[in-house]
């Protein structure tokens, strides 16, 4: 049976992992390779590296990161952040990343999804969507939830699939950082609207939140950052918990 995936997300600024580096017993906590290895040993199913480098001069460093991670970590990994063109995708994938995640650039130019999918295959293209609740529906936001795009999340997700996205990384802006649990209703809506895997993100606070988003939210995978980085929840323990509750995990 296909396992439900647990994916830690690492923010990378100028080649170093930032935010939540409160790691124990790591020789070099800011080193993406060391952290990748650490999570690999813990049983992470994939890794996501999000490049938050503001200056475009430093874009080359994320390519170096991808190259070095690929030499040392033998599980799939995705690189996102600042990918605007097919050439950006190509350089990241050639460096060894398995997938690229695109967000703002896809909203500005949806054809980027189909161009990328046609060249590299659908499985390479992860469409990241930041969703914020607006009365009874969810709207797509950019700039970390500050800017409303006017797009409806369900429609955008469906459009992304028809353009060739291979997976959807769905973040609830309302829940992000709150530790009050994933947005189950949102995740379920999107999961039921598309026929590609949905990765739930934003709001994980404890083991039960993961269980609920798999069962009630029908998520295929879950992403979390600080919860893992600060050691509040260990991936191995989380997987034991889920396995005991009959969720298929690796």
């Amino acid at each position: 049976m296909l396992a439900k995936r647990i994916i830690p997300c690492l923010d990378v600024d100028q080649g170093r992992v930032v935010k939540g580096i409160n790691f124990v017993k790591l020789r070099e906590a800011g080193d993406p390779i060391e952290m990748g290895k650490f999570y690999n040993d813990q049983g992470a199913d994939e890794l996501v590296f999000l490049d938050i480098t503001a200056s475009s001069d430093n874009r080359k460093t994320i390519i170096e990161v991808a190259r070095n991670v690929a030499k040392q970590v033998f599980i799939p990994f995705t690189v996102g952040g600042g990918i605007r063109t097919v050439e950006d995708m190509r350089s990241i994938l050639l460096a060894g990343a398995d997938k690229v995640s695109i967000n703002t650039a896809a909203l500005k130019n949806p054809q980027l999804i189909s161009d990328g999918a046609n060249i590299f295959g659908n499985q390479c293209i992860v469409l990241a969507i930041d969703a914020k609740r607006n009365n009874n529906n969810w709207k797509v936001y950019v700039n970390g939830g500050r800017t409303l795009t006017g797009k409806d999340v369900i429609n955008w997700a469906k459009q992304g699939v028809s353009l060739g996205a291979g997976e959807i990384l769905l973040t609830s802006i309302n829940r992000d950082g709150t530790k009050s649990g994933y947005d189950l209703e949102l995740t379920k809506k999107i999961s039921e609207s598309v026929n590609i895997p949905v990765i739930a993100s934003g709001g994980a606070g404890n083991e039960q939140d993961f269980y609920e988003v798999f069962i009630k939210g029908k998520a295929d995978a879950t992403l979390a950052a600080s919860l893992f980085h600060f050691g509040e929840l260990k991936i191995k323990e989380l997987k034991n918990y889920l396995a005991n509750k009959q969720i298929p995990v690796r």
Binding site: L2, F74, L93, D98, G121, N122, Q123, N195, I196, P197
Partner: protein, 205 residues
């Protein structure tokens, strides 16, 4: 030397990285001379069957691979590389290498296609799985699966709506539908097992 056959489709670097990690000598090559000289071959691949076969034929590598297999050189097909070893693929109705008799079919299931993620492989005895626990998880990304005519060559089965063949062993020909180079420690072990088969084969000659 293990030669990773370069026929213009992706994912060659990951296999090379994994072999480097294992300390195994390998090269990525499309040279007929180098492929002929290699002790063992890996046919990797992410992409479509029709495009893969077109590239192999254009470069003449199809005949080279078939000849090397006839000479009993060990070969490991990974993902699309496994599928290309078969006679025919429904993907673009592609005639493939005919090294293994059988078809490659598209998933016809309620489940999401492509299958993306970690799934279990139920093993039958195979040198490829030495030291790897039965029902271990491996990383899959695919929409098509292989259906060998001779079911005795099936060495791994995986459940995704249907129970499909995820690994084969037929004398010197090996194939896995999953990506060992992306399957953590168990994947690295499988690649190590393949290189052990390659070098045992050499001393045997």
């Amino acid at each position: 030397m293990i030669v990773i056959i370069n026929y213009g489709l992706g994912n060659l670097g990951s296999v090379k990285n994994a072999l480097d990690k294992l300390g195994v000598d390998s090269m990525i090559s499309k040279s007929i001379k180098e492929i002929t000289a290699g002790s063992g071959l890996i046919l990797p691949g992410v992409g479509s069957a029709s495009e893969g076969m077109r590239n192999l034929r254009k470069s003449g590598l199809d005949k080279v691979i078939i000849k090397q297999v006839e000479k009993k050189k060990p070969i490991l097909g990974i993902c699309l590389g496994m599928q290309l070893l078969f006679s025919f693929s429904e993907e673009g109705n592609a005639e493939c290498l005919h090294i293994i008799e059988g078809k490659v079919k598209k998933f016809n299931t309620e489940l999401k296609v492509p299958q993306i993620g970690w799934n279990q492989v139920k093993q039958k005895p195979s040198k490829l799985f030495l030291g790897i626990k039965d029902k271990s998880y491996f990383y899959f990304v695919h929409s098509y699966y292989c259906q060998p005519k001779d079911r005795k060559i099936e060495t791994g089965m995986t459940d995704y709506g249907i129970n499909f063949c995820s690994a084969i062993e037929d004398k010197n020909v090996f194939g896995v539908q999953f990506h060992p180079e992306k399957s953590g420690e168990d994947g690295l072990k499988l690649l190590k097992n393949f290189t052990d088969i390659v070098y045992a084969n050499n001393t045997g000659n």
